[in-house]
């Protein structure tokens, strides 16, 4: 039993160690969160702003996807971000287009945290021509 446990641990460690960055994407909402697990309600590891570069992790060149979430690495944090919030090109962010307006609005760190949470809490929809 102990041997099996040890082997599974070694295999898990190897799998974790082999995860490398396969590409870089950019966060496209105003603010957002890196989640500990692949869920929008999961604990936030860090708050990020629009245009933040994000390393998408993968195994053998293939992205690690869990539901709608990519496994990512941002700075020292390894976590998960919803696919729909990422862009392959650097987005034209609101805070870059209106930098002084954005600065003068006076957002606190708490506001930025909640703003990131807001995008996780929305249910998005769009009516389309069938």
């Amino acid at each position: 039993m102990k041997i099996i446990l040890l082997f599974s641990l070694i295999f898990n460690l190897q799998a974790f160690a082999s995860e490398k960055s396969v590409r870089v994407s950019y966060y496209k909402n105003l603010f957002g969160h890196i989640h500990k697990n692949a869920s929008r309600y999961s604990q936030s590891l860090s708050t990020i702003g629009c245009g933040h570069p994000i390393k998408i992790l993968g195994n053998n060149g293939k992205e690690v996807i869990s539901g709608d979430f990519f496994k990512v690495k941002v700075g020292p944090y390894t976590g998960f971000i919803d696919k729909k919030y990422l862009s392959s090109k650097k987005p034209n962010c609101f805070q870059d287009r209106y930098p002084h307006f954005f600065d003068n609005v006076g957002l606190s760190l708490t506001d930025m945290y909640y703003w990131g949470k807001l995008y996780d809490q929305y249910a998005y929809g769009r009516s389309t021509v069938q």
Binding site: N104, V105, Y114, Y124
Partner: protein, 308 residues
């Protein structure tokens, strides 16, 4: 061998001072010559551009200078424009979306929207509802709030985009179906589309502020604070007036009349709300925001014709 080396050394000692003397003499002579020919040497004489103007024009160097000056001027102008642009204020389309979310963020603790909620599938049911009505290319965000203080509301956003607030305690208390929730959202959609919210929140000075620029001016923070207070007013306290409610109710009726199930659903839902606000203290404020379900029902009821 040694003798030849000594001879070489002596000859060197004698020749070096002589050579210096010759160089000095040569330099003096050259300076004298230069002095005489000063006016003729093109390397020393100042260039008279007037005389060579024709040559420059023939070489097109003059036009090149003009071009380069224009490029520098353009670069400077663009740099200045970019500097000024950094002080731009979002235009109407982007401002309302930003400000509605700003208000939601600032009111996060009151509205209590940051909570784990079940997936009711409202995004899908409302999408089908709109598509059945033939309303396409409408983007929306539904935010469920965990408070009875706000029952349902739509905030202004980008063009063809809507932010809906919907109270989970409200829909649970009334046990609303997906169709009834879609009807509520659609009522709110009509209110935003009619511009009631924007009209109420548009305080004097806001029209000029939106889409403007505050380069070398003070940023008007108080204006944004006033708009935020208007948001508070309309959402928590004032709501909509009778005329607006009458127009929305009749519009709902005319749109839904083609589908008897939906029209009846709307009528029955208003009946449920009317009953709730009359019996549940938590929802008595509803009448201030949406006056009033009872009146709405009476507006919808077919009028009896008097038979003479």
């Amino acid at each position: 061998m040694n003798i030849s080396l000594i001879l070489l050394l002596f000859s060197l000692i004698f020749t070096v001072p002589n050579a210096q003397e010759v160089d000095a003499k040569g330099a003096d002579a050259k300076a004298k010559e230069d002095k005489e020919d000063k006016g003729l040497d093109p390397m020393v004489a100042p260039i008279e551009f007037d005389k060579i103007k024709d040559v420059i024009q023939k070489d097109r160097l003059g036009s090149e200078v003009v071009k380069k000056k224009a490029v520098i001027k353009k670069k400077l102008r663009n740099r200045n424009i970019r500097k000024v642009e950094k002080y731009n204020i979002p235009d109407s389309d982007e401002f309302w979306s930003f400000f509605s979310e700003y208000w939601l963020v600032k009111n996060a603790t009151v509205l209590r929207w940051d909570f784990k909620k079940p997936d009711y599938g409202l995004d899908e049911s409302f999408k089908k509802f709109l598509e059945t009505l033939g309303i396409f290319e409408v983007r929306y965000k539904i935010l469920l709030v965990n408070t009875p203080d706000i029952t349902h509301f739509a905030l202004p956003s980008n063009e063809n985009e809507y932010i809906f607030l919907l109270s989970v305690p409200f829909i649970r208390t009334l046990d609303l179906s997906k169709l009834e929730i879609s009807l509520l959202l659609f009522e709110d959609y009509l209110r935003v589309k009619n511009g009631y919210f924007k009209k109420y929140a548009s305080i004097p000075g806001l029209e000029n502020f939106i889409g403007g620029n505050f380069y070398q001016k003070d940023f008007n923070v108080s204006l944004l604070e006033k708009v935020a207070r208007k948001y508070d007013d309309i959402i928590y306290d004032k709501g909509f007036n009778f005329k607006q409610q009458f127009d929305v109710t009749l519009r709902m009726s005319s749109i839904l009349k083609g589908n008897a199930k939906w029209w009846n659903g709307y009528y029955l839902m208003l009946g449920k709300i009317d009953n709730l606000v009359k019996t549940n203290v938590l929802y008595q404020k509803y009448l201030k925001i949406y006056p009033s379900p009872e009146l709405q029902l009476s507006w919808l009821r077919p009028k009896k014709k008097k038979v003479l």
